[in-house]
Subunit: 273 residues, 6 copies
Amino acid sequence: MAPRVPRFLDMTWQEVAALPAGTVAVLPLGAVEQHGPHLPVSTDLVTASETAAAAVETVTASGEASVVLLEALAYTKSDEHAGFPGTVWLSWDTLMRVLVDVGRSLAASGIERLVLVNGHGGNSALGQVANRELRRRFGLRTFFAHVSTPRDQGGAPASGGEHGLGVHGGHGETSLMLHLRPELVHMELAERRVPEGLLAYEQIGFGKPVSFGWLSSDFGADGHVGDPTTATAEAGKEMFEHAVEQLARTLVEAARFTTPVDGAAGLVARDRT
Amino acid sequence: MAPRVPRFLDMTWQEVAALPAGTVAVLPLGAVEQHGPHLPVSTDLVTASETAAAAVETVTASGEASVVLLEALAYTKSDEHAGFPGTVWLSWDTLMRVLVDVGRSLAASGIERLVLVNGHGGNSALGQVANRELRRRFGLRTFFAHVSTPRDQGGAPASGGEHGLGVHGGHGETSLMLHLRPELVHMELAERRVPEGLLAYEQIGFGKPVSFGWLSSDFGADGHVGDPTTATAEAGKEMFEHAVEQLARTLVEAARFTTPVDGAAGLVARDRT
Amino acid sequence: MAPRVPRFLDMTWQEVAALPAGTVAVLPLGAVEQHGPHLPVSTDLVTASETAAAAVETVTASGEASVVLLEALAYTKSDEHAGFPGTVWLSWDTLMRVLVDVGRSLAASGIERLVLVNGHGGNSALGQVANRELRRRFGLRTFFAHVSTPRDQGGAPASGGEHGLGVHGGHGETSLMLHLRPELVHMELAERRVPEGLLAYEQIGFGKPVSFGWLSSDFGADGHVGDPTTATAEAGKEMFEHAVEQLARTLVEAARFTTPVDGAAGLVARDRT
Amino acid sequence: MAPRVPRFLDMTWQEVAALPAGTVAVLPLGAVEQHGPHLPVSTDLVTASETAAAAVETVTASGEASVVLLEALAYTKSDEHAGFPGTVWLSWDTLMRVLVDVGRSLAASGIERLVLVNGHGGNSALGQVANRELRRRFGLRTFFAHVSTPRDQGGAPASGGEHGLGVHGGHGETSLMLHLRPELVHMELAERRVPEGLLAYEQIGFGKPVSFGWLSSDFGADGHVGDPTTATAEAGKEMFEHAVEQLARTLVEAARFTTPVDGAAGLVARDRT
Amino acid sequence: MAPRVPRFLDMTWQEVAALPAGTVAVLPLGAVEQHGPHLPVSTDLVTASETAAAAVETVTASGEASVVLLEALAYTKSDEHAGFPGTVWLSWDTLMRVLVDVGRSLAASGIERLVLVNGHGGNSALGQVANRELRRRFGLRTFFAHVSTPRDQGGAPASGGEHGLGVHGGHGETSLMLHLRPELVHMELAERRVPEGLLAYEQIGFGKPVSFGWLSSDFGADGHVGDPTTATAEAGKEMFEHAVEQLARTLVEAARFTTPVDGAAGLVARDRT
Amino acid sequence: MAPRVPRFLDMTWQEVAALPAGTVAVLPLGAVEQHGPHLPVSTDLVTASETAAAAVETVTASGEASVVLLEALAYTKSDEHAGFPGTVWLSWDTLMRVLVDVGRSLAASGIERLVLVNGHGGNSALGQVANRELRRRFGLRTFFAHVSTPRDQGGAPASGGEHGLGVHGGHGETSLMLHLRPELVHMELAERRVPEGLLAYEQIGFGKPVSFGWLSSDFGADGHVGDPTTATAEAGKEMFEHAVEQLARTLVEAARFTTPVDGAAGLVARDRT
């Protein structure tokens, strides 16, 4: 009986070699970084890994596509939280090199399609850069999916009371963790930290046309930005199930995704470096 | 009489040193890359430079903020167009190093606020990475603005007939160039190249929740993706004036932008590397 | 009640900040690489993570030292297995950068002592380099421990029948996995692959005075080097318990380890770069 | 009617692809750096760009060779002026990477001959390194030309009163700018800053057999090294016309330049990396 | 008459090209670093170069193999002695790049076998990394030999009185230098510096299962670690002759060393990068 | 009695620390590269090392300055000879890192003045870059001297019959080697290889205003460029003695060289990175 969640790491090399053509590899991107006084530093790793595993299980059960789950990258680009104890961050340069090495290895393993499942907003931009780099250099079909689209990348506000400013450790992430790891959430330490001053700007801000370079220390000494006090396990369960459902759809689409010029032909004009 | 567009490059070093505290430096990011058979390879450099110059002039005239225009970066990250003659591209690594060196230099020149004005969608992700890097390492307040928000970053469709798929050399860019550099546009060579097959995906696509790593060669041999045949100078003029107006507002906001913890205090927790 | 295995990732940033001075952080180094037809690609990650967790639990229970377990690095330097499907490897350069970034982050988190627990022989040399780099640059007291000392680094032969040549996927690793993850071991595919020709050399060889640069493809198409056919779960259990006991002792020693010139004084002569 | 100055940036990618074999691409290297109290930070960019454009126009008009003008690199290696406001400098590493990326792109565009036209003495050495790197790696025929040969590279003294020590912002550059951009020159702030102490050395010095590593801050707080007070627009006009004439000759020579072993045969022994 | 020690540097390029297939190139790795008050900073360069030259001479005289001696790398990775005057050290990154460039060049010169002869313990780990890198990327058969196996890498204690702790400038190295360069040894300044406190640890220490990251400044202000006071020229002579004899044997073995899959076939699975 | 040639490598670290303030360190830059069929690959290393040693001896004997000789860098930037057996070359990147690491180490050793003595024309440009980098970053007074000024850097033609084209392995270098290492010169293989076609260019060429990127393979299969057939030991002796005399003067000047703003004050404006 095949496992419910087919894991790359559980396979022998010959099992990897025997994966069906077009199998979609799924790589969660977590983070180990401060999430305020109420959430563990693993928050983004937990949400990315759990969402990815559940979606891979869903798709495998449905038989709609061949998918395989990779071990998450735990340590990623958390430079906006540098200086807070508990943040273990890779520079942009280091993380790009990791992603390139992983992409090269997967391509050499016969993998042709890769979905990055990102739990940490701070990885989004670099992940997009990697997306293209792996396509160009190794011919991989690459996709970048968010556990939940962050507010500063066009996602919906997580909670009305946050005015769309709950970008880190707020209502959304806290709810998700109350659902996934309740024993690690310290609701008694949760406090509202919503930078309402940002509402004064029309052009610049989270989810607005112009982004700005921010550090969590720009917002206060606690480290989170948002309102965790309204979080509930129920809201988290709903978010999680929605995220899994969306990601499962994404994986199925990724398995059949194509462009007008496909495969080798599409790569003719490439300047491989 | 002060020039209408205060240019950093026209100043002596002592004039740079004497810029008012809080002056906003504006750095256009262009590109030199194929834009289909009908547009010059300078398209993104032209749109970014012209928009930035006009917005700097507007703000200077209004007296609402002190702004200064930097010379554009002409050559940037056009790896998605690698292999097409005429594309002169920097790798992600090279462009990041350029942006870091420029940011370091500006901070050493007393500049505290920097707005990147981006004309090339392929720079957006790396520009976001730089945004944060310059904030963390040099204390700069950084902002990343698009000439026009690209479709794959949440912008509105440029034209109904493109179904939101006109991401490169389509209705929008062609119209802008018909307004700004009509003598360089070859409308007689403009053809519709809209990858309508992408409409079959719900999750994955330009402006959809999940992005994908693409090369222009994935879409055809011509290089553009969109429908330039509907472009007009009038539409371009309207887009340009809107972009200038938006950017001028952004510059004024950037001059007064602040966060709950401001200045040096906000930088206490930083791990400068 | 404190958890049996204190995990860095389960903590909030303030809990990390509150760890007792002198706490020993434990970072397992795994690998994702081919291990022959009979073992999963995760073998080294499993053995390193399990050994580290059990030793941290032992020491915590004994109260002899304050220790905290970090999430393992799953993907490391498996360049000797490059080209086999299933091997996901980082270059020497990438892995060093990861280790430097992690070390910098831990030092900034107040951690002063770090034990690397290595499950993959191919990491040993670079790990030693990192050992010193983190000491010099960040002042960390660093230690490098093997799950089981590999033969090519002075360890005892894992099994008489292997003549000391069972360096990858042989009796030792297969036994450990039969104990730790029996469901992932395919003993029916295990075959003896002992390169007895190496016995002809006195100076050069695994565990001999002169090492040689090898790739697993130098030894055959299967990928393993050793004799897994003699492996048993019982032998694996004994090895594992021995490894845990040794590592627990190491952690206690690491907590009190000192040199003639200690702390800041010892760092006077450093050239921090 | 073809434009007087054929510009790479004005072309479509297909026009670039259609350039005649052997076309000489011309890349001006400027700088954005302090030039004393009397000259704008753009001085080297202005002189390089204007000279290159005029020479390209001359050659195009004469029909002696096919040439095409690239957009200048505005920001280059001005590390000797680091620390002065207004200096925006790239490290040696960054500039080399830019030149390599540009060279790779041009070669991929079908360009076979490249002339760097350098306006900033601080680029000369690295430009020579790039010259060879682009020849070896991409097969480009490369040439490095100075707007005016700097004194520390064997050029003639710009003015008798400077004793050959007017290397930055002195008589020569100031005269050129009085001709090219009189409105940006502040002659009322020009002061003589000639380091006559250097005349005491026979071996070491500008234009002497042994060069020395210098920063502009080694010579004073104003930033320039030379005597701008003698500068005139007339002298600048003469210098400029001479520079254009020389560069035009260079471009014609570059178009027909060959070595005993030409083209592909000459590249047989290469170790491409 | 052929020279007694065939030196690569004495040859013309055509002589290098004419070396017999299978010739073993020998590259000594020295160091320039503090060695306490009694030894010159060249100690490791002297011991590595002299041992290598004598072994090459021995093998050449015997006719057992074709060997050729390369000029030593004088400056290597002495970061553990950074901050002491007289230490000239390369970072891990720099030294690896040097070794890669040298390996690439040798492979391009037709060399297929390379033995690194290391005189400095601080190079051992990185040398092992290079060993594999050169095998994988350039197909070189690589070997890493120590002048005398250092204690922290499994070698025998150099002297009973040092308790195995004489890792730098102690009995062994001082004796070797009394034999090889007596005029450079200052025995009147030699003092015993044995960190006996390390004997309190079972797991951690020089030559013990767990290594630690150390700097020489961790052990005292003098810089050496060991007991040079017992050193004699006689002991040095014996050590030297033993080292030469061992290395000569190694070179002969290296010339005929093979693995089950040899040559090109063994390289099939490589992922050349 | 002090040695005739004070060598850094012969000293203990405390002797290095005790060098007089203002001591000039001398670092020869050699090369290991093809020099045609008649000269050994060590040619540039021999000429640089011998010249430097003799000049250091001269100055020491005269007592005019305190100087100290460093071990040469044998392997440097010989990329123009890549692909010829016997050429062992470092990339520009690697050599710069070596020079930076060496400069940092020397500055940390208390050295304030450094003269690079270059035997290989291919190092000249990068050496100039290093000159400035070491001044800026470490405050070193740096100087770059040629054994004999190469023709393409303004030196006089080595021999009339070469028309100034004897840039590699011609009359000059062959004569020097006939003087310094006659046993390694194969005059019977020396042939005239003068690329007289270059005389057709006015602007471009060795020692002309415009340099070009060349590889030795551009000039023929033998590797040298010049006419060694006219070389004599007498001419070599004269050249050598002249070079030693010139370098000795340079060292004396370097010991007292200063600029208007000296020492720490001159470094005020630096942006140390």
